[in-house]
């Protein structure tokens, strides 16, 4: 009970620290001693309290907690240091990789900015960002009127008798200005880079037409005499990194990873973590070792089965027995 109370207060304290400092706090040496003490007392508890051995569901619950804590210790930074000392297993606990399209790399940047190397390389064939459809053009007048128009080339939307209509002329993935003699021409550059934009035509009720460019990256741009504020917003639905694992010059595995769909290879998980926000030419992967994970998952399974068995099945069957007797 004392250890449970302690963990409660530590959790509340940790919540105020923020994730980064809380992680350091809970992985510090005094806390490592606390975790070890927790595991030892759980084992002793199972030995001392006979009921825990006699009731399989209770045994599962408490043994499950031991598995979870042991797995967590094994997967921690200190656990990895211990693995190296005791078993000679040299694994990187966690870090990041930055890989450019068409390139491969095996260097992992650790939290303390040290660089370590994996025994294989990860290549990035392509990186893509997918957006929800339809995309929208948002229009707001100085008076606070508001319109939301789906982006569809050629579509013309009536705003009001005061503002007229707006027509979507072009959609650019990578807007650039090309100087052609004295003319400046807006083009969609197929080369590297990303500058999403719209070309729209505002047709005022008096018959005047004005062309405007709306940039996703630069919201809030408007001419001083414009009556309408335009913004182009897209919502990301998925980030996709097409990865391949290269060992001894051969491709040994391939996977398109997304958030929630990591790559597992060689004792590591590779996650879609971030990307090049300016040009979309590189991806940032999070690399984590899978040490201790099986123990944690087995512990979770034991804990859940034990709890359902003890609190639901046992209690219900007892209730049925009681009802039958009545």
């Amino acid at each position: 009970m004392v250890l449970i109370a302690m963990l409660f207060f530590l959790s509340v304290y940790g919540a105020f620290l923020g994730p980064k400092r809380a992680k350091e706090f809970f992985n510090s040496v005094p806390l490592a001693v606390y975790w070890l003490a927790f595991i030892i007392l759980l084992i002793l508890g199972i030995g001392l309290f006979r009921r825990l051995l006699r009731v399989p569901a209770l045994l599962l619950i408490h043994a499950g907690c031991i598995f979870v804590l042991a797995g967590a210790l094994w997967s921690s930074v200190r656990g990895h240091e211990l693995q190296q000392k005791l078993l000679g297993i040299d694994k990187i606990p966690s870090g990041f990789m930055q890989i450019y399209e068409g390139h491969s790399d095996n260097r992992v940047i650790l939290e303390d900015e040290q660089i370590r190397e994996l025994p294989f390389s990860i290549g990035l064939k392509d990186f893509q960002i997918e957006h929800y459809k339809p995309e929208y053009l948002y229009i707001q007048s100085r008076q606070g009127d508001y319109w939301k128009c789906p982006v569809e080339i050629g579509a013309e939307y009536f705003l009001s008798s005061e503002y007229g209509t707006i027509k979507i002329l072009k959609v650019f993935e990578n807007f650039k200005i090309q100087i052609d003699g004295e003319n400046r021409v807006a083009i969609d550059d197929p080369g590297p880079g990303s500058n999403p934009a719209l070309e729209v035509q505002i047709n005022s009720p008096d018959g005047q037409a004005a062309t405007r460019y709306v940039f996703e990256r630069f919201p809030g741009q408007m001419h001083a005499d414009d009556e309408l504020f335009l913004s182009y917003q897209r919502v990301i639905s998925e980030y996709i990194s097409e990865l391949r694992v290269i060992r001894d010059g051969k491709v040994v595995a391939e996977k398109d990873i997304q958030v929630n769909h990591p790559l597992h290879y060689g004792g590591y998980h590779f996650y879609q973590q971030d990307y090049d926000h300016q040009t979309g030419r590189y991806t940032i992967l999070e690399v984590t070792s899978d040490s201790g994970l099986t123990s944690v998952y087995v512990g979770y399974l034991m804990l859940c089965i034990g709890l359902c068995w003890h609190f639901w099945i046992n209690k219900l069957s007892r209730k049925r027995e009681r009802t039958a007797k009545e």
């Binding site: 919540a15 966690s94 929630n260 990591p262 998980h269 999070e286 984590t288 998952y297 359902c308 639901w312």
Partner: protein, 265 residues
């Protein structure tokens, strides 16, 4: 404060009114009318939830507005408690239904949002569902604990459990759900963010609330019904920590973290 002049808002307000009418009918001992109104309130809550689902095109459990809409569908839990667990408190459930829908009706923004990549997982629905269910059971447990503290008991002819026993039984049902929510969240965190435990404030408060109930169950096992007031205070402390986990962590600037998308005001 945001009064919603929309179909969604209208559905929420109708549900709240019907739940409150059911409550009044029950208070004035119009049992049958109360039951019918409670069922009608539940149907309105389901329509409201379904409308939101149709509107946002994904299971509406993304933010506090949607979670509170879901919490408003308390009726099946009431029936389960009454007929399977032999636990009363339906009148209180009508009030709980109205109270949880109030923030959805007037506080939280109903602005529809697309699911960010991290939430596009098969674990999204089970994780939130088991938590919502466990919170309802724990809220009911706290209500019965409060009844025990003020000395109220169930009617002699109702064949229902005493408040102390009802609290214990409700926690016995809710605790595995609370654990399952924590475990599913952890497994999901591993798949989405690379770590099954990120020391995020929401995770730590969830662990704290779980530990309160771990403490309750150990204390109840050790002392049984010898200290019913302590048992009840423990159950009430549990729901207070749950409220902190559900609301304060998402809404306060004290706790920036991975679960920030849950807050949309």
């Amino acid at each position: 404060m945001e009064i919603k002049y929309t179909i969604q808002g209208l559905l929420i307000y109708i549900t709240i009114i019907v739940y409150l009418l059911a409550l009044l009918a029950s208070i004035f001992r119009l049992k049958k009318s109360g039951q019918v109104l409670y069922l009608l309130g539940f149907i309105a809550a389901v329509i409201s939830f379904g409308y939101r689902w149709y509107h946002v095109r994904h299971v509406p459990m993304q933010n506090l507005f949607e979670v509170f809409l879901c919490l408003g569908m308390i009726y099946p839990v009431s029936l389960f408690c009454r007929y399977v667990l032999r636990i009363g408190g339906q009148t209180a459930d009508m009030l709980i239904g109205a109270v949880v829908l109030a923030p959805a009706g007037v506080i939280f923004s109903a602005n529809p949002l697309k699911l960010p990549p991290a939430l596009q997982s098969w674990l999204f629905v089970p994780h939130v569902t088991v938590y919502v269910l466990s919170y309802i059971f724990m809220a009911k447990a706290a209500f019965h604990a409060a009844l025990q503290l003020i000395g109220k008991n169930t009617g002699p002819g109702d064949n229902l459990l005493s408040p102390e026993e009802a609290t214990y039984r409700l926690i016995c049902v809710g605790f595995p759900l609370l654990t399952l929510g924590l475990v599913l969240g952890s497994v999901w965190g591993k798949r989405a963010w690379g770590d099954y435990w990120g020391w995020d404030p929401k995770e730590l408060w969830s662990l704290a609330s779980w530990l309160v109930y771990v403490g309750y169950l150990h204390f109840r096992y050790m002392f049984g019904k010898k200290h019913p007031r302590i048992n009840s205070i423990w159950a009430i402390a549990g729901i207070i920590i749950i409220v902190v986990t559900l609301l304060w962590v998402n809404l306060s600037r004290f706790f920036p973290g991975l679960h920030s998308y849950g807050a949309t005001m």
